[in-house]
Symmetry: C2
Subunit: 311 residues, 2 copies
């Protein structure tokens, strides 16, 4: 799957993943009204509304980007009905040949981590049969529990030829509270980064490993260090756009070949129509606004990478 | 809810939480057969089997213990149908007045962490209505992302009078890879523990705070240090039994008042009938074996705590 992701990034010339994090306040009124008319103001109605909203966005951007990243929390908050919408979103995006990065930030130990890996990436056994649970292509994973938490994911990834992105340095303001602590002369995020490189060395695709890393666009200097520390690791970069990251902050996350990083934007794309810049599209044409936001983001990143070569 | 938990621990004299982590290999054949007969070897069949299995255990132990801790990964691996079984398990345990500790180990940032908090502990808004998603009483939370990940949970806990347990030092062999790293002269788990104490100081129940900690029974010396560092923090202690922790390892996790810790046992109780010691009960009476295992565990802990006073 890392090979497919890299191929699609090359083809689309867009190292971009669209974060499908549908908050109800992003969903246009006409979609909410239709869903509530059919199902009432219920959890099922909410699930239906966010799925329809996602569908519009996917239809509008699937030819431009390699991947989408549904954030499961935004679905899980609606309980079972929300998770049904999550699954339908993954299935629909897959039907458009998009790579699915499940932003699930799971992480536990031993058989428990294995259960998460099986549920999100692999197949579960029921008697003599096997079934996929959510069947994403990649999942994000929390490293706090160490190798015991990661290895079960890697085993499933090898079997299914899928991948994970391990949280190394997250994009949020307080990420430094623990991640930046200096241990044995080095910050924790470097220690984690080094382990990511090691975990990945054992499961390589053609040029990058199955074990990626999450490093926030909001910390470009750390991105530079981590890029060198993990040369074969694909970096998933959140924090672009709404969180303050800009194209020029991203250049150090990429390798010289222009690969090695994929940048996420969520509300900057899916709620583009609510921003002044794209307000002219209006709520009815929210998906067209999202498409324009993707095109603009692609140019921003392309420009920044070209600028790097000029220097 | 922390007050209710403490009250129930006092009443039952059992600082014990039963981990409902139903692996298919634990579920007795007669339960699997009945479920597969009705629903086939399907995800729904699996969900039905684990719910029936849990129901038997809950019926058998609800008067002995204050709380159960369903491990969501074991349900999530079966996709939507598994999560329906998780929700039904929580509801059924709640109907028996058990406190529900959702072992979900979620953790993200800002609005995303808020969505997890809302989904597991709080109410989500749909138009003019509000609904509970999974409605557990406590949830376990991963601290790697710092305060940005914890505060949204605390806000929901204050509103709902519920609580969280933050991973501080986990029970697994590799937990030290990151958690034991010495930063500014102190191991990471102490730095996290100090933050737990701080987060909790702002949301106190009668004697303990809404913000608990997870510290593994397998590291008793660290438990001793953390107990002193976080005097008002309830400690959820995994690792007893199957993972190797024994009653005598637990004494330092408790305060002088005999409170302050609740010890989890999962397979040691729910799959007791598969152990030599309880094999005489047989698979048909698996729930009676679980009851006996709880009684034995209660004696083991009681004895260890009495032993402490004698010294």
């Amino acid at each position: 799957m890392i090979n497919k992701l890299v191929d699609k990034i090359k083809k689309t010339e867009a190292p971009i993943v669209v974060g499908l994090d549908p908050m109800m306040k992003f969903v246009p009124e006409h979609i909410k009204e239709a869903a509530f008319k059919e199902y009432g103001e219920t959890l099922k109605g909410a699930g239906e509304a966010i799925f329809e909203y996602n569908k519009g966005i996917i239809d509008s951007i699937y030819d431009l980007v390699p991947a989408v990243k549904p954030q499961i929390a935004m679905y899980e908050q609606f309980g079972i009905e929300g998770l049904i919408a999550f699954k339908k979103t993954c299935e629909y995006a897959k039907s458009k040949d998009l790579v699915i990065i499940g932003d699930v930030k799971r992480g536990d130990i031993g058989s428990t981590s294995e259960a998460y890996a099986v549920g999100h990436l692999g197949k579960v056994k029921v008697g003599s049969k096997e079934y996929y649970g959510f069947d994403e292509d990649f999942a994000t994973v929390n490293p706090y529990l160490g190798s015991d938490g990661i290895n079960p994911f890697i085993n499933v990834c090898k079997e299914e030829k899928k991948g994970i992105f391990v949280l190394v340095k997250t994009s949020n303001p307080s990420s430094g509270e623990f991640q930046d602590k200096v241990c044995d002369g080095r910050p924790m995020y470097e220690i984690v980064g080094e382990m990511v490189d090691k975990w990945g060395s054992d499961c390589m695709g053609d040029s990058y490993s199955y074990v990626g890393a999450v490093v926030g666009a909001t910390y470009p200097e750390m991105g530079k260090v981590l890029r060198k520390l993990m040369p074969k690791t694909y970096i998933l970069v959140p924090g672009y756009g709404a969180q303050g990251g800009k194209g020029k902050d991203l250049v150090h996350f990429f390798n010289e070949d222009g690969l090695g990083a994929i940048v996420n934007s969520s509300r900057g794309i899916i709620a583009a129509y609510q921003q002044e810049q794209y307000a002219k599209f209006g709520a009815l044409n929210y998906a067209d606004a999202s498409r324009q936001a993707v095109l603009d983001m692609r140019e921003d990143i392309k420009g920044a990478l070209l600028g790097r070569k000029d220097n």
